[in-house]
Every structure is written in C-alpha cells, then in structure tokens.
Amino acid sequence: MDGSGSKRIRGGQAAPVRLRNAQVLNLLPFLFFLVCYAFAPRVVNEAQLTTIIYIGIYVLLAVGLNLLMGYAGQISLGHAAFFGIGAYTSGILTAKPIANEVIPGVSVGFAVLSAVALFLLLTRVSGWKLGVGIVLLVLLGWLHNLSSIAPAICAACAVVVMGVFGLVAKVGWSRACVSGAVLAILANVSKWFLRNTLERGGASPWTGLLVGIFLTAVISYLIGSQVLRLRGHYLAMATLAFGVIVEIVFRQWTAVTGGSSDGIFNIPPIQFFSCIPGFMRRFYEMAAGKTVDLRTQYYYLVWAFVFIAIVLAVNIVRSRVGRAFRAVHSSEQAAASLGVDTARYKVQVFVLSACMASVAGTLHAHNAGIGYIHPSEFGFMVSVELVVMVVLGGMASVWGSLFGAAAIQTLKDTLLDLEKTNPEFWGLKLQGLDPIVFGAVLIVVMIVLPQGLVRGFSDGLSALWRGAGRIKKQQGVG
C-alpha cells in the first residue's frame, strides 16, 4: 500500500516483482475501512466496542511510530511519553485544573520551553550559544515569577536581553528578540488561561486536545532536534531515557499530575455529537441502526481520527517529503548529497509522530465511561508494546500498523481473560504474562518474519502465485 516495494525474502533476493501502481487499487482499502467503520456498532456488543476503541487509540500510536521507525528509520523507545503528555495535558485541563499556587510556575515553565524551542527553530544554533540562550531564557522566565515586578517590565527585559545576546553571539538579534517576546507573551497568556480554567472548573476537551498537541510539539522538537543527531543504539538509549524521565515526572509531580497513588479520574468524555452538523449525526444514527449512546459516539470519534491519521500517513509516505524520509532511512549520505536536509526531516517526522501520539493520549484520557489515567499507562513497557505493534504489523507499512495494533490489543485482552481464570501450570500461578508473550513475539518476528506479518504473508502469497504461474508456463511449454 505504501508503494515502497522492498521485496526481500529471507535467505536471498526474491525475483524482482513488478509493483502495481494503480490508483484505484490503492483506494480499495480505504473504502473497505469506511464501510467497516460505519457499520461496526451494529454487529459488536458493548465489551467488544470498548476493545475496538482501545485498538483505535493504539492504531493512532502505531501509525505515528511507524512513520518514524519504519519509514524514516529512527527508533524511539520513549514514545509512550508523548502519549502520556497528551493524556495528562488534556486530563489536567479538563478534570483537575492546576491549583492556584502552582500556576505561575507551570505557566512560566511552559513559556520557557516554548521560547527555547522557538529560539532553536529560528536560529538553529548549537553548542555554547544554545547553552547560553537556554540559561538566559530560564533566568528571564524566573524574572516573570517574581510578583514584585510588573509584567510589562519583565517583557521589555526579555526582549532587550535576548536582543543583546543575539547581537553579541551573532545569531540574529531580531530572531532572539522574537523568542524573548514569545516568552513574555506566553507566560502571561498561559497564566491567564490557567486561572480562567481553574475558575470555570475545567476546560473543554477540544482545548485540551489542542494544548496537548502544542505542548507535545514543543517538547518533541526540543528533544528531537538534539537526540536525533545520535544514531542506532545511542538514539535508542536516549529516547528510552527520555521516556523513563517523563514517566517519573508523572509519578512524582503530585501537585499537578496527581502522582502515582491517585492518577487523574473523572475526566469527562468528549461530546462528539454536539459538535457535528445534524446530517452527519443522522448518518451515524442510520449506520449504527439505533440511537447512538456515549460509547458508540466515542467509537466513531476515535476511529474518525484513525481514518484521518491513516490518510495523512499514506499521503505523506507517497509524497516528496515521504520519499525524503525513506531516503534518509536507506542512506543518509546519498539523501544529503541530493539536497535532502536530513537533520530537518528527521526532526519533522519525530514531531509529527509525537503529535499523533499526543492525540491518541487525549483520546485515551477522555475515553467514555473510563476517564481515568495513571502513570503506569505511559511507562517503558507501553513504549515497548508500541514497538511490538509496529514490528508485528511490519515496518514501513501503514496498514500493517493497523493490523499490528489490533493483534496486540486482542492478545492483551485474551491474556487478561486467561489470567482472570487463575490458571496454574505445574503449580505456577500464571500471572503477568504480557512481557513474556511480547518478548517472545518480538524475538520470533525479528528472526522469522523481519518484514512483519502483513508483508510476510503477502510476500509468501505472491511467491506462491508466481510459483504457480511458472509451473503453468512450464506445463504450457512442455
């Protein structure tokens, strides 16, 4: 479906397979998908619908991670962190607004992060200049936290100091000024926004979604622009470390995140149907064949996002930028020598994939009838699970991710059901089987079917097909 056409079979090169390029054939899976999407609630029961919602959330994550891992060839072992940032941002804003005494700190922190990201984006500096810039921005942010100084003076200070620094360090005074100004503006805006949210007792989930995406984009840009200079094992370790740090923050920053004992609960569901025009609502009701309850609504919402994500992903993969991603995967040197700004594209795909994870996080937090998040849902094991999904479905295969996520989620449910029956094996209580099974899946897939189940099967089928064709031909000749 992605048209990348890497057709290798283990133990040697396959005979070259001419790849179809018919547009109509590429639309078929989408049509099939839409039909299933619309009519699924007719045929499944309540519990299955819940599972399908979860599958949708993980498909979003897996598709995003596949863009990064399968297409651009950059591994991330901390992707659950972005999932968590999306979930927590939205959960906090809607259900557990930040308390008054932490508001200044949080808003300044947010402003500093954004300003640093902007500074980096505009000036593309590195080394000591970057270090000094960050220190300055942090100090200026701290200035905003002193209540004795008027905001206007702080803002003026920020702009002037950054401007002077820009002149001295020769990174462009105007650009440095802009990042100073953004620091001041964001610090005040977010302070006002958070106070407002607290007064009203929570923001709307859509606001949560957008803020989550923005925050994730900022953080993933900051991390990605630095970390993606590393390769292979080092990149894996760095993203792993990042993921674990974020999880520890979720656990320990009790004033904001509720910590690991409570988590955040009572997160309101997203009222999808009150936001769409009447004819769509009628269409959905017709498709579902009943009045659409909250859970079914949520199902339609999640899978609408999944559909959009898959369309976007497929489009990107088959565009100029997508080809650049794949080129970076294959040979960075060759890509760069053809004019591909490898560093930039790597960061781009990283941010994109993080933002998709963030959307998934928001959807996870607002899940109808559950509305509860806990740090353990965003830990290292979840990151590994995501990798398993991508690997199982097949790297560099968008539809494969759909399959991988569905398979793993189903497997998880099956294991959970199995564990509920308290099975015993030679006197050993079989509990907590997930890691064993996932580990085994990773190992077996990597050894036996390195191109994933979907690719593996389609390769196998096409080999059979060709084999049959050849036999026919020989018989015809003979």
Binding site: R231, Y234, M237, A241, Q252, G432, P435, I443, I447
Partner: protein, 298 residues
C-alpha cells in the same frame, strides 16, 4: 549542615551502586567489542543473578547460592546468544535493538512469573544472626556507616576487573575475542570460530552481571524490574568511559554511582530515580561526537 553530614554516607552508597554500574559497563563492553551489539538485556543478567541468589540464600548457604546464581546467569547469556542472536541474520541495528529488548522484557516477565513482583530481601554474606534474621556488621568510618556487604561489593568488583584484564591480555581465548572484535573476517581466516566467540562473550558478560547481582542482592533487595535502571546506568558508564575500554568504563561507573547518589540524596530526592537517566541523556547530548566516533557501523 544536616545535608553535609549525609555526604559521606551517600558517597559510600554511591560507590556500591557505582561498582554495579562498572560491572555492567564491562559486560556491555565485552559484548560490544566481540559482536558490535549493544545488549539491552544486560541489566536483566544482574537481575537474574540477584533473584536466584536471594531466593536460594533464604534456604541454603552462600556456597550453594553463589555458584547457582552465576550459573543461571551464564545459562541465560548462552540462551540469548544461541537462540536469539545467532539465528538473526542480516541484522540491522534497529532489529538488534528490538530483539535484545524483546529478550530483556521476556527475562523480566519470566522472573516476575517465577518469583513474584515484590522485592525479595537477601541476608548479607557475613552477618550476625540476631533473633532469627541476619544483621550485617557495620563499620564506622569518616562519619559514614559502611556495611560489610558493601565491602564485599567493592572487593568482588575489583577482583572481577583485574580478572577481566588478565583474561583479555594474557589468555589465548581472550586474545581471540579481541581479534574477533577488531576484524571478524580476519579472525575467521586465522581459524577463530566467530559464532563460538559470540556465545563466549555473552556467557562471560552474563556471568559478570550475575556475580554483580549476587553481591548486591543483600544491599538493594532483588526485584524483577531492577534490570532496566542498572542496565541503563551501566550503559551510561560504558559510553562515558568509551565502549570497549574496560578501565574507562569502571572509572566512569563508580563516578556515575557517586554523582547519582549525591544528586539524588541532596538535591532532588523526589526524582532520585530519574537522576541516572538525566545524566545519560545529558552525556549523550553534550558529547555526541565523542560518542559517535566509536559508534557501530549502522
């Protein structure tokens, strides 16, 4: 003042932790230098050693538990080499990472299955029995209490490091492994069996990790998820000291342990679990060129 009084104690526990990091770092280096693989399951070998020792120490004596734990560590290493790495052909860096992670979580899951999720305390090697449970001897030095077990950790680490040095410098097998690292094809031409070398290096690294696990189990308690943090700390030390450089890795491990213990104890006690990871991230970001120079060919 109160904080400063803690410093010696923190340094002592830092050195203990650092010794484990050092051993894990040496394990990373051994595997990396003979196979160019970073083994994400390295920390799990420590966990296996610690778990087996803790479980056995409760029932039998050290003389049984120690060899049994090390043997099970070595067995785990051999299994990884034989059933995971050798069958993996055409290995790209990404698939090596994924497959060693798969191994790592599988070991963790198995440990959890067999021995449960809770921490298992182990009695110290040379303790005094007090009312049914064994209490460690303590020494008082420069304002810090040093437990006998911590001396064990330090002593065993020193012994292992010297042993490794002698092995790689002066024995034929060790030299063969180094040759394999420098040039696999060349090594094969002169008749060194690369496959056997991979297995040997995994067994050795796993055995080392298991020893570390055994000596440290009375200090930290054995827990099925202790591997990740120790593995990452060890990796951090290995990178700091230069992959393949044993002495550097050991020094870096001990420094890292002390720094982690001090920052965790004095500055951010809430976030002390994150310190090792922050250090790792900072090192990878600040010295990427130093790190990259020694990276495996992608």
């Amino acid at each position: 003042m109160d904080l400063l009084a803690q410093v010696p104690q923190l340094v002592v526990s830092g050195i203990t932790l650092g010794c484990i990091y050092a051993i894990v770092a040496v394990g990373f280096s051994i595997i990396y230098s003979s196979t160019q693989v970073i083994n994400f399951a390295q920390g799990e070998f420590v966990m296996i050693g610690a778990m087996v020792a803790a479980v056995l120490l409760a029932k039998t004596s050290l003389l049984v538990a120690f060899p049994a734990a090390v043997a099970s560590g070595c067995l785990a290493g051999a299994l990884v080499a034989l059933f995971v790495l050798i069958p993996l052909k055409r290995a790209s860096v990404i698939s090596l990472i994924i497959i060693t992670i798969g191994t790592s979580i599988m070991f963790r899951g198995l440990a959890q299955l067999f021995w449960g999720e809770s921490a298992i305390p182990a009695p110290p090697f040379t303790g005094v029995a007090v009312q049914g449970y064994v209490e460690d001897r303590e020494f008082h030095l420069f304002g810090a209490y040093i437990r006998a077990q911590e001396l064990w950790v330090i002593g065993v680490t020193a012994l292992l490091v010297v042993g490794m040095h002698v092995f790689f410098r002066y024995t034929l097998v060790g030299q063969a492994m180094r040759a394999c690292a420098i040039n696999q094809l060349g090594a094969r031409i002169v008749g060194i069996n690369a496959r056997r070398m991979i297995t040997a290096s995994f067994i050795m690294a796993a055995g080392l990790g298991a020893v570390a696990g055994v000596v440290v189990s009375p200090v930290f308690y054995a827990k099925c998820n202790m591997g990740t943090a120790l593995g990452l700390g060890g990796f951090c030390a290995a990178v700091l000291g230069g992959l393949g450089n044993f002495a550097g890795g050991v020094a870096a491990g001990i420094i890292l342990g002390i720094v982690e213990s001090l920052t965790g104890g004095l500055l951010w006690s809430d976030y002390k679990d994150a310190v090792a990871f922050v250090i790792l991230l900072v090192i990878l970001l600040i010295r990427p060129e130093g790190v990259l120079r020694k990276r495996a060919e992608a």
